[in-house]
């Protein structure tokens, strides 16, 4: 019997590095040679992480990978947060890649659905970010990581700037398991402003000569917020934020939550809630939170990523944001997702479909947008062991009979939206499209974003449904129907039962909360336009051109 060789992975890495040898001067590879570099270091069937999420993109490397010779590089298993750029799917069209595990596919939702139906992609699973990161360390460890940074020095030390996001996690999993790390950087410099990734974890750097792409996904124009979204926001503030005293929270990216952010310094301040709610956040740097920050509402914010145009503002508000020695934001998606899961008492966000029990999904039969972080934010962490007032109160509502010392608390998981969405499509449905999709693609699991047993409240313009207080399936269904307005689901309600639920406070109408729908007016918004946000920021917020009207 021969002695086992425990160094095969290292040896393989050595071979790959050697194959690339002639292309690199030190660690630096010319941008014209990137495709050749990828052909040299990637082996057929490799697991490859092409960095990209809902914000930053390693776009130069994505184009290079799409351009490799498919007789040399094929059947790759892509393990990446985001399927966002066209090139992310082009590699499956050409056969360079075969299998996919991912988390988010917003802009490519329609194309990825077509390709899945057409059998062009072998799908592993649609994950949440944190879940995919976890699997990088267990069974989806990348052989090669293609990442993006702002700058590098000649030793490969990387500065990832405000959009650090997934990079440390991807590099950690790849570099320490004998993988190859290739970074595109905007510029190679003598000394990086701060070291986000130590150079000994980076094998090659490529100067892109232009900034990597960042999508301004978290910018909501206050000018587009409607009276109905304001009404819904008012109901959420009075019916949930104030009711539970929620201080630690995460917001989704929809207009309803943007409306809440803009009502904090106005409507919520008049209610005397300053300092009592919404002080500590796991949140991207939402421009719509600027008025609340400037009005002294916010103690601190940890962020998954940055937001286009917010960098100078963040740097000038280091009491609020996490910043590095260079003064700019340090974001970290893995840590922020963990913070959102364990250290926040509430997640509130919107969805496309909610069924009769409260399961929700953003999947429709023609669009698969993935999950991003929502299922992680929007779930009750069973491993949580620290108490807080909102968590205990929610736990008691769900389970009033258990002894307090042995009772789990509950994270508040709130779905907010209008009964009818874009194009008058109802948000409430008898059956989720996700079920149809699961059947068509023979998936073991329907792509449910937030499971019914995690959802605690549903807020619409019709009122607040508190599902924690529902004692059986029928009550739950009627509570959902009770806030579903004039949708088919809403009109199918049992009026008497809904009335009883209202008497018990399971359903609370605007008038039960002391909110007059006629008061829901845009004049309540602390900012009515992007320009107003710039003014609030003292000129520090520099919105991208597509949001300007000046």
């Amino acid at each position: 019997m021969s002695k086992p060789d425990w160094g095969t992975e290292r040896a393989a890495r050595g071979e790959r590095l050697a194959a690339a040898g002639s292309l690199a001067k030190g660690k630096i590879v010319d941008s014209a040679d990137v495709t050749a570099l990828l052909e040299a270091v990637i082996r057929p069937g490799d697991r490859v992480c092409l960095e990209g999420d809902n914000q930053k993109q390693a776009d130069l490397l994505a184009v290079a990978l799409a351009g490799v010779d498919r007789t040399k590089v094929f059947d790759l298993h892509m393990v990446q947060s985001g399927v966002v750029l066209p090139e992310h799917l082009d590699v499956f069209e050409t056969g360079v890649a075969k299998r996919l595990d991912y988390a988010y596919s917003g802009p490519q939702a329609a194309r990825i659905a077509r390709m899945l139906f057409g059998g062009k992609i072998e799908l592993g699973a649609v994950h949440t970010y944190l879940e995919l990161f976890a699997r990088y360390f267990i069974d989806l460890t990348p052989n090669v990581a293609l990442i993006a940074a702002v700058s590098a020095d000649r030793d490969g030390n990387l500065y990832t700037g405000p959009n650090t996001e997934d990079t440390p996690t991807v590099v950690e999993a790849t570099a320490f398991k004998s993988g190859i790390v290739i970074a595109q950087v905007n510029a190679i410099v003598d000394k990086v402003p701060r070291v986000d990734i130590p150079g000994d974890r980076v094998n090659f750097i490529v100067e892109a000569g232009k900034p990597f792409y960042v999508e301004p996904l978290f910018t909501r124009d206050p000018g587009a917020i409607t009276e109905m979204q304001i009404l819904t926001a008012m109901l959420a503030i009075k019916g949930i934020y104030a009711e539970y005293g929620v201080k630690r929270l995460n917001h989704g990216i929809g207009f309803s939550t943007a409306a809440i952010e803009l009502l904090l310094p106005t409507f919520a301040e008049k209610l005397g809630l300053k300092g009592k709610i919404a002080t500590h956040w796991a949140l991207n740097p939402h421009p719509t939170l600027i008025p609340a920050i400037e009005s002294g509402w916010v103690t601190q914010i940890h962020s998954f990523g940055s937001e286009v145009g917010m960098d100078d503002y963040i740097a000038a508000r280091s009491d609020v944001y996490f910043t590095g020695a260079d003064g700019s934001l340090r974001s970290n998606r893995a840590f922020c997702q963990t913070a959102g899961l364990y250290a926040c008492d509430m997640f509130i966000g919107s969805t496309l479909q909610i069924d009769l029990q409260g399961n929700s999904s953003t999947v429709t039969t023609s669009r698969i947008a993935g999950f991003g972080g929502a299922p992680n934010m929007g779930s009750d962490p069973r491993g949580r062991r620290h108490a807080s007032a909102p968590w205990l109160k929610a736990g008691e509502e769900a389970d009033p009979d258990s002894p307090a010392a042995l009772r789990r608390g509950r994270k508040l998981v709130v779905q907010i939206g209008e009964t009818f969405g874009d194009g008058n499509v109802p948000m409430f449905v008898e059956h989720l499209d996700a079920l149809v999709l699961a059947e068509k693609l023979s998936l073991d699991l329907a792509p449910v974003m937030i499971y019914a047993d995690d959802v605690t409240h549903i807020v619409t313009e019709e009122g607040v449904a508190n599902l924690l207080l529902c004692r059986d399936k029928d009550e739950r269904e009627q509570a959902v129907r009770g806030v579903a307005g004039y949708t088919d689901v809403g009109r199918g309600r049992d009026a008497k039962m809904v009335q009883r639920l209202r008497e018990r406070g399971v359903i609370r109408r605007p008038e039960d909360l002391g909110v007059d729908p006629l008061d829901a007016d845009r004049s309540l918004l602390a900012a009515k336009s992007i320009k107003d946000l710039v003014r609030w920021s003292g000129g520090l917020y520099a919105p991208p051109s597509k949001f300007r009207n000046w």
């Binding site: 006629l518 007016d521 845009r522 309540l524 003014r535 000129g539 051109s545 597509k546 000046w550």
Partner: protein, 307 residues
């Protein structure tokens, strides 16, 4: 009093307000009376053919009221209905108002523009309306009536609206207001994205927006985005004497020739601003209204009641 009906002119955003709200809050409180109001249901005879919804006032509100106690006529376009576009009824209401001003001993007519141009579904009627309005407007001016245009709505002032605005005695514009004949998309379609990228909103506003229009003399006064500021700017303009004679037009012709000579080579509005003597042209777009007005007043050319 509930929020939707707050009527303090200093607090009402011009950009956000409906045409009806602009009129009611711009004039002296309670003074506005509408001609051919919505209850008369004088709606478009054309939109129904296309199965498109009509509006009771066809997107044009006309009437009379007082402005600091002077009796005036006023017209306002609703920029959210069909993009404020001119149709047959819409246009006829403005033509009628301008003609009526001649007979009613009115010294001032205000036109609150908010339009993308002519309504495609009634294009012939709309184009004719533009011509009739321009004729009626010039006849009114020839009779000594001041016609002041106010531009600061969502739709801007484009197409035929841009032509009509060019016939006015004076224009008030806010930062949000855009004045031009061809819109950004039209220019891009015809001349290519290299010539004009209609999606580059900063470029669109730098070129067609209120600040540039004020600086190059298209507009005679600049207002902050409140009804109160538009009212103040309008009142200030009305204190200047109205002129409409051959000398006025010849002087304007000369000014336009000089302008073309001075700025014709500029590739971007910011270059024009630098040529006008503004030290930091890049600061103009973000500048607060008050600071901007001070600069504009300093660099502005002589006004000839024409543009």
């Amino acid at each position: 009093m509930t929020a939707p009906f707050l009527n303090d002119p200093a607090a009402v955003s011009w950009y956000e307000a409906s045409a009806r709200k602009r009129v009611v809050t711009l004039l002296d409180p309670g003074s506005f009376l509408e001609f051919i109001g919505p209850e008369q249901r004088e709606m478009s005879p054309h939109l129904g053919i296309f199965d498109l919804p009509k509006q009771f006032d066809d997107g044009m509100i006309v009437g009379h009221g007082t402005l600091r106690s002077e009796k005036i006529f006023v017209a306002a376009q609703e920029g959210r209905f069909m993009g404020g576009a001119f149709g047959e009824v819409h246009g006829a209401k403005l033509t009628g108002l301008l003609r009526a001003a001649l007979k009613a001993d009115i010294q001032t007519v205000l036109i609150l523009f908010d339009t993308g141009g002519v309504r495609l579904q009634e294009a012939n009627a709309g184009e004719l309306a533009i011509a009739e309005i321009m004729r009626a407007l010039l006849e009114a001016r020839a009779a000594g009536i001041r016609v002041v245009g106010l531009v600061g709505g969502r739709a801007g002032c484009y197409g035929g609206g841009g032509l009509i605005s060019g016939c006015c005695s004076a224009l008030v514009v806010s930062e949000q207001g855009r004045i031009s004949v061809s819109g950004p998309e039209v220019i891009e379609t015809n001349k290519g994205v290299e010539e004009f990228d209609s999606k580059d909103r900063a470029l669109v506003w730098r070129t067609m927006g209120g600040k540039n229009r004020r600086l190059i003399g298209v507009a005679d006064a600049f207002a902050d985005d409140t009804v109160g500021s538009f009212r103040d700017a309008t009142l200030a303009l009305l204190e200047q004497p109205g002129r409409f004679d051959l000398d006025t037009l010849q002087a304007e012709q000369t000014r336009l020739e000089v302008r073309l000579e001075r700025f014709g080579h500029c590739a971007d509005a910011a270059e024009i601003w630098t040529a006008l003597g503004i030290e930091d042209a890049s600061a103009i777009p973000a500048m607060a209204a008050e600071d901007f007005v001070a600069i504009a007043d300093r660099v502005q050319e002589a006004s000839h009641d024409a543009r």
